[in-house]
């Protein structure tokens, strides 16, 4: 007999070793997430995937599924709090979507749309962060980094390169590039690397491709992130 647990009243089958996120996506249930990508070891840092498991808040992307769990994924309270966590990400960085090449394809923005977020709620930090345009094909706009570490993991786990790392503490946390100058041009990054394409936001961009798809025809202009994520990631979770 397959083991099961319950999310919002729906019975979800799972196999030992699966996280709640993996089992849910495979069963067609979307849980908001940003730092999670089924290709990589989960990180558990953005906290957007927080669900309530038997009365306790847990990160679905790291928490193991187990028999008989009663999970709340969608509730007014959880969604309102997820919205606030998203707003924290917006005020922490500098997100001016109208002038961002990623707009419409950005998962941070799409999660915000999904949560019906219309404002940033908190006071802005307006921290001055750098842009690194030194590399011939790839650029980093640190203003849009949410420290999901997907680029770090991709470079390490797929490209075998270790181009990126996260450094610093608290609100001073920054993405750093492992190169003698600290600049992208002196790193081992190649435009064909997985790490150059994995960023969920507009922090890592491929040069000269920004407007190849016009605004209005981009991924989340018409599709909801839950559907997009389930279509692409649910499959990945099946294996």
């Amino acid at each position: 007999m397959t083991k099961t647990f319950v999310i919002d009243g729906k019975t979800i089958p799972f196999e030992d070793g699966q996280t709640i996120m993996q089992a849910a996506s495979a069963a067609g249930v979307y849980i908001t997430h940003l730092c999670h990508n089924p290709q990589f070891t989960p990180h558990g840092s953005c906290k957007l995937c927080t669900v309530n498991v038997n009365g306790r808040n847990c990160s679905a992307c790291t928490f193991p599924a187990s028999e008989g769990q009663n999970v709340t994924n969608i509730s007014k309270e959880l969604n309102e709090d997820r919205e606030k966590i998203t707003q924290m990400l917006f005020v922490e960085g500098n997100h001016f979507c109208p002038s961002c090449e990623k707009t419409g394809n950005c998962q941070l923005q799409a999660v915000a749309y999904h949560l019906n977020m219309t404002d940033n709620h908190f006071p802005h930090f307006f921290e001055n962060r750098e842009v690194d345009a030194s590399h011939p094909d790839v650029m980093i706009d640190h203003n849009r980094c949410i420290f999901c570490t997907l680029c770090v993991r991709a470079s390490e786990q797929v490209d075998g390169k270790n181009v990126f790392a996260i450094s610093g503490r608290g609100i001073d946390k920054r993405l750093v590039v492992n190169s003698p100058s600290g600049l992208l041009k002196d790193s081992a990054l190649d435009v064909s690397d997985c790490a150059a394409h994995i960023c969920p936001t507009g922090a890592i961009l491929i040069k000269r491709t920004g407007y190849s798809v016009p605004i209005g025809q981009r991924i989340y202009d018409h599709a909801h992130i839950d559907a997009v994520a389930l279509a692409s990631e649910g499959e990945a979770h099946d294996h």
Partner: protein, 181 residues
């Protein structure tokens, strides 16, 4: 609906008037709207100050100078419902991109040592509003009741929002109308 028309005031602070233009995109729906709405202080009218019984204030643009602060306060005082309209009102938008640069450098570049500057001097006149160190979104200066995102928000956003309000419903934008670009 009551016979008394709802008073709406609008203004552009540190914005580009794009939101106002988008509002005008309501086109023929404007005709329906004015049956229920009367415009008070607004670039669309010649009224210079809000009357003290405005119902709705629509504000485009963020707060970049002292005059913006005064106008915003007048709106907050006179309008029952204050709405931040567009990216700049909500997070400072394009003008707030100057927040990366010190105001001193901005002013020097523009009036003192920038390319093509003739007769360099920092404008100084009591009539001129002074710039704030940073551009701030509206909600950091006064309390805001609703936010209409978009750069600009489409005419449909204004329509959905205002028809909800006029009908006495709690305004809620459907997914398709929430855009930050």
């Amino acid at each position: 609906m009551t016979t008394k028309k709802v008073k709406v005031a609008t203004v552009s602070l540190a914005g580009c008037f794009g939101c106002h233009m988008s509002f005008l995109d309501l086109d023929e729906r404007l005709v329906d709207l004015v049956e229920h709405v009367q415009f008070d202080r607004s670039p669309l009218t010649d009224i210079e100050h809000c009357s003290d019984d405005c119902d709705i204030g629509l504000i485009e643009g963020g707060v970049c100078n002292s005059e913006n602060v005064h106008v915003l306060r007048e709106f907050r005082k006179q309008c029952k419902i204050l709405v931040a309209v567009g990216a700049c009102a909500i997070n400072g938008g394009l003008p707030a991109m100057r927040n990366h640069i010190s105001l001193e450098d901005c002013l020097n570049e523009a009036y003192m040592d920038g390319i093509g500057v003739e007769n360099p001097q920092i404008p100084s006149d009591v009539e001129l509003p002074l710039l704030l160190d940073k551009v701030h979104p509206l909600h950091e200066v006064v309390k805001i009741d609703y936010f209409l995102p978009g750069c600009p928000p489409s005419a449909d956003v204004f329509w959905a929002f205002l028809t909800d309000l006029l009908a006495g419903r709690e305004p809620a934008l459907p997914y398709e109308l929430i855009h930050f670009d």
